[in-house]
Symmetry: C2
Subunit: 358 residues, 2 copies
Amino acid sequence: MSNTQTLSNTETDSLNNSYFIKACRGEPVKKIPIWLMRQAGRYLPEYQKVRKGVTFLELCRSPELATEATVSAQERLNVDAAIIFSDILVPLVPMGLDLDFHEQKGPVISNPIRLPNDLERLSFDKITDKCPFLFEAIKQTRKRLQNHIPLIGFAGAPFTLASYMIEGKSSKNFIATKILMHDYPEAWHTLMTHLSDVLITYLNKQIEAGCQAVQLFDSWVGQCCRNTFLEKVAPYTKKIISGLTKNVPVIYFGTHTSHLIDDMITCGETVIGIDTQTDIAKVMSKYKGNIAFQGNFDPILLFASKKTIIETTTNLLNNVGHIPGYIFNLGHGILPETPVDHVLTLIDTINDWSASHL
Amino acid sequence: MSNTQTLSNTETDSLNNSYFIKACRGEPVKKIPIWLMRQAGRYLPEYQKVRKGVTFLELCRSPELATEATVSAQERLNVDAAIIFSDILVPLVPMGLDLDFHEQKGPVISNPIRLPNDLERLSFDKITDKCPFLFEAIKQTRKRLQNHIPLIGFAGAPFTLASYMIEGKSSKNFIATKILMHDYPEAWHTLMTHLSDVLITYLNKQIEAGCQAVQLFDSWVGQCCRNTFLEKVAPYTKKIISGLTKNVPVIYFGTHTSHLIDDMITCGETVIGIDTQTDIAKVMSKYKGNIAFQGNFDPILLFASKKTIIETTTNLLNNVGHIPGYIFNLGHGILPETPVDHVLTLIDTINDWSASHL
């Protein structure tokens, strides 16, 4: 399963037998593996220290700083996997989009694509050659992580990336995206095909550089109805997953996807990411043995009392923790204002549950 | 089924046999009944005219202006039902909340409730006595509407109202609401009980004043997971619906509710409102004959080309239009920037489909 020639046999064995990778394969484990989406984020003092004096994009583009953000978060939380510090929008910059991150507003693209002809000004050629910092960060991070801690690479899925390219920012209604999808189906197909091709290379290179798994973030795909997903989104997700050359676990994740889960599961991924609202017990009971499952804990509950965190975590684990192939995660990323000690309570609760139940 | 003593037998018969009311009862109709959430809204020149020179709340509180907004929208669109012009937040003002509407930001409550003790400063006594304008508007509107056009009353459901009372505005993450729900279950129960009691009277008075049906808008309930919905939301919805004294159709609606639909349907409503993302054909195939269905058309598609509007509407109707008990509506309210001629194209398409298929 492992990949880079720089890994020793011992390291490869250790990673192959890690809680996270075993759970991805649906194998029983002695401890529920844990990682948290956006675990290296603004809520964490270790992250704030790394981020000091540089912009968000500068941090993404510095292999040293990205490595430090990745490793320090994994070590601080003592979680079972690291995810390389980057952003799903990073590959849009070499395509010709002017991307900036505002502290409050989030990502802003000053020259979003609008009409179908706008596609012509984008470049999809050798995009990954223009992101050497990412692969270098992966190499450095792999060297610094302990032998039994897998490193996850990632990319935005084409629908979600396209929505940013078209809307120019986080969107509420996705008006321009839906217009392009429905009124200009050929332009949509062209854009999604280009993005898929770029993403295959982008993910393969992350795996080659040292990632033991990859996650496709289709964060906003839940905006699509089933027919739109099947016709205009799923074919590209499938294409990407089947285009990965090494046999590493692939996680496919989106939010507000209850109505799409059955179809998302047919896209070929190893692990399905479950949002906060979806009835995970129902999904796991239907698909256990066929796929692994990740997520579902509501990140908003990290703002509630520790008592609530312990109760809701225990309820979740009592429901699904005994089923092989479950990876603990949130239903969406940690918010910047989340209290760190609440996150540590969450992790302690899961580990305590594992110790007494597995 | 009808109600007010001011209605003649002819009117009552005509309303009872209207397309909308028949579809609510699940009976076959010769024409798919149509109404659109927020049909009397900012996108409409008729509305802009009524709104000129008054604030949004002044419009809600003027029986004459609210009547004009309600009737002019129904007439302009020539739809099969009117919904009284008001806002779900109107009853919060006499409870002691300082409500204002900002043109861009939407509703803002300057004194939201935060801690459980904050509940004590709210009043839940004789709230409906302090909203006489609404019942007067209903009376005037009923007189002006044609005999075959039912008038729909409405209220926000308690979860959605509570979320505004707690967050003070439209929320993205519902942090304060979820903290109250989970950390202070007794305070939550008290709040939901008070709101339910107020809403029973509020809806009963709307029915007495001349409404032939009512809709409960639980717009943000989709944020809840299934367990939270069952434990902390559904009991109050059920209480309200069972507390209505006249036997008029009740529509229960929320957005992003795919994971809750099965449980929402058990709340006792006559009609389930279907959001944009839910697979309506699947829901209707499962529950047809037991309940009626409303909605599902994506309001964002009204920004696409007329060709797209015609195609997507026709696809929806080909899927579900033959099943008795379907009321055409959107999956959420019309947006302010929606082109009126696109809305008219939508309505023409549905009526053409009815003429050739029913």
